[in-house]
């Protein structure tokens, strides 16, 4: 075990994957200089520097051309490479939307299984940092609507490392949505290579009165909420799905089966967001267990404003999550 940051864990997973398999390559804008620090060491001067370790054939700076970056990764994945594409900010993914939906997601299906696409697309969501509407989106819900893509949303260093490694080793395309706000989060992380399976939720905390399904930065916020609520005598269970596709609906249904109440903490926009999907699954499959309305705590349907005076109010935080739980608790129980 070594104390490792979320960012460091992402770097470690990539380094180990590159060491394990020469077909793994990394490309993206400014990856040679490791501007965002997502690749191991802090700088090129570090001994952990990827360019020094793996050379310019496998670590490649690209032009600012997201569309061809994503498409080329797909084409490369179909023909023997296992690329990791660093797309830096999640808001830039739209530039390559056609390649994601029409090529990355559909090729295996459309060509009757002839193609495999072992490729990982990494990007970070920079919300909460005064970067305004062009850099702050949390767009995973629209990719959840596209069959053929797998989606991971790690909320801890351990999950970031274990899931990312699974992603690189998997033969399906994966989108990794990392949260910039979590980059500095540290915890003891298992040394060396390990993998965390997709589609298996993590029970962050057990409880009996209300289930909170929390995504990405929603997880630490839910933890804070749970502590407040505990003082009020409300016992909260927190589930982190870790991957949204595949989604571990069984874990959520089991938990709601025990608690009878569900709050979802999801930093994406509300309409057609991940929270909507989780709510709909439960309303369809665990209706009889429900004792209260399903509450969504999401970012409301606005864009992200620049001014720090008005930005932070928008995201799910401990207070909003706790309020939603309190409301769920107050709902008159079905007899």
């Amino acid at each position: 075990m070594t104390v490792t940051s979320y960012l460091g864990a992402i770097g470690a997973a990539q380094r180990e994957a590159m060491e394990a398999d020469p077909r793994v390559i990394i490309f993206g804008e400014d990856v040679e200089a490791n501007v965002y620090g997502t690749m191991g060491g802090k700088s090129r001067a570090d001994k952990g520097d990827f360019l020094q370790m793996f050379g310019p054939n496998r670590i490649r700076n690209t032009p600012i051309s997201e569309e061809v970056m994503v498409g080329a990764a797909a084409g490369a994945a179909m023909t023997g490479l296992r690329p990791i594409v660093d797309l830096s900010y999640s808001t830039f993914l739209y530039m390559a939307m056609d390649q994601f939906v029409n090529q990355v997601a559909k090729s295996r299906y459309m060509f009757g299984g002839q193609a495999s696409l072992p490729v990982v697309f990494r990007s970070a969501m920079f919300y909460g940092l005064s970067t305004a509407a062009h850099h702050s989106d949390r767009p995973y819900p629209m990719f959840m609507n596209v069959p053929g893509l797998k989606i991971m949303v790690p909320s801890t260093p351990t999950d970031a490392k274990g899931l990312l490694r699974t992603a690189v080793d998997m033969d399906d395309p994966v989108m990794s949505f990392e949260a910039c706000l979590l980059w500095g989060m540290k915890e003891d992380v298992q040394d060396g290579e390990f993998r965390i399976p997709f589609g298996v939720a993590r029970t962050v905390r057990e409880g009996k009165d209300c289930t909170i399904v929390a995504i990405s930065t929603g997880v630490p916020a839910a933890m804070q909420a749970a502590q407040k609520l505990e003082a009020e005598g409300i016992s909260v269970e927190i589930i982190d799905p870790r991957t949204l596709v595949p989604f571990d609906s069984q874990a959520v249904l089991n938990s709601v089966g025990r608690t009878g109440r569900l709050v979802i903490a999801d930093p994406a926009n509300k309409t057609c967001g991940a929270a909507a999907e989780i709510s709909a699954i439960v309303a369809e499959e665990a209706f009889d267990c429900l004792k209260a309305p399903i509450m969504r705590v999401t970012t409301p349907d606005t864009h992200v404003p620049f001014s720090p005076a008005i930005e932070k109010q928008l995201y799910p935080n401990a207070e909003k999550i706790a309020d939603a739980v309190r409301k769920a608790m107050a709902a008159k129980t079905r007899s």
Binding site: A76, L81, Q103, R108, Y109, F111, G112, G113, F247
Partner: protein, 328 residues
């Protein structure tokens, strides 16, 4: 460059395959035997085959909605292609791709794209694989004059150029994108766009001559394989049929005189005469070849007709490598 006689005959064979396959497919669409629609390469056979046969067997290729010619030119078997057009289980894509999304990975055909321009980055990625893994394979991206105005082409050309990727960008300029004349929506000449991306740009005016096309593409392929990077080849050609089979536009966007003058330059007929003139083959050999191909196409149709449709569960297959959820 002089080509061996068997290579010349193989060119004619592949052009004929495309011609007869597409003529047959056209009829089948009109009779309702093929669902949806098809876009034929009739009239463009020289351009397709000249390019494909400049590639080696292990080389990669991507294409577009005008799709049958590309895998046929690259050497794909006709049966599974025809079965694909009919949505049969034995189709090259299990009936899930259809006319616009043929792919035959066995011959390096990485897929046709129904989205105009969208397969160009894919071909670029295949070239990247070749470069990184050192396999020596060349990649070729077919796209139309219409696709030449999609931004991703220029992203791909730039990336291929700075990375020195072994790829040929091949613009099939049949002078129209659906009803839209290329010159009304395209500034300048496509081939001239190569210079700004630091690669050779060639315009083959006589796209009806398979040898002329072959020669130009061969130069580009050799260059790519030698590690000298990408090229852009624009081939001027003409589609003899409507944009897609069954489509009827009341607008006379291609006038009769123009059409007639191009119909005279039929690439299959022209090359046939050439082969006779040059003594590459005699009448009997060519007639034999034509019979063979006709029989091949009929056999493909029979193969398809006799094939079953896919089972319902196939609709849920191959969304992921290991099924989960509804795909189970």
């Amino acid at each position: 460059m002089t080509l061996a006689n068997d290579l010349l005959l193989e060119m004619q064979r592949r052009m004929l395959r495309i011609r007869l396959f597409d003529e047959r497919a056209s009829k089948m669409v009109k009779r309702g035997e093929i669902p949806g629609t098809v876009h034929t390469s009739i009239g463009q056979e020289a351009q397709v085959v000249g390019a494909c046969m400049a590639l080696a067997e292990g080389d990669y290729m991507t294409g577009n909605h005008r799709s049958h010619g590309h895998p046929i030119g690259k050497g794909a078997a006709l049966g599974p292609l025809m079965a694909e057009l009919q949505g049969k289980a034995t189709g090259v894509c299990m009936g899930k791709g259809g006319s616009m999304h043929l792919a035959d990975f066995k011959v390096g055909s990485l897929g046709e794209s129904g989205i105009v321009g969208s397969s160009i980055p894919i071909a670029t990625g295949a070239a990247l694989s070749s470069k990184v893994l050192g396999t020596g394979r060349v990649s070729l991206a077919f796209f139309g004059d219409g696709a030449a105005n999609q931004g991703c082409l220029y992203e791909a050309m730039n990336l291929a150029s700075v990375w020195g990727l072994p790829i040929v960008f091949l613009c099939e300029n049949n002078q129209y994108a659906l009803s839209t004349p290329a010159h009304t929506v395209t500034a300048g000449r496509v081939s001239d766009r190569a210079t700004g991306f630091n690669m050779p740009g060639v315009r083959v005016e006589d796209g009806q001559s398979v040898l002329t096309v072959h020669d130009a593409v061969r130069t580009a392929v050799d260059r790519a394989r030698a590690g000298k990077g990408p090229s852009l080849v624009e081939v001027v050609t003409y589609r003899f049929n409507e944009h897609s089979e069954g489509l009827r536009l009341a607008v006379d966007y291609r006038n009769a005189a123009e059409k007639e003058s191009w119909l005279k330059r039929d690439p299959v007929k022209m090359f046939r005469s050439y082969l006779l003139e040059q003594g590459v083959a005699d009448e009997a050999t060519l007639a034999g070849l034509e019979n063979d191909v006709a029989e091949e196409v009929e056999a493909a149709v029979r193969f398809s007709e006799e094939s079953p449709y896919p089972e319902p569960h196939v609709a849920f297959k191959d969304v992921y490598t290991v099924p989960f959820g509804v795909t189970q």
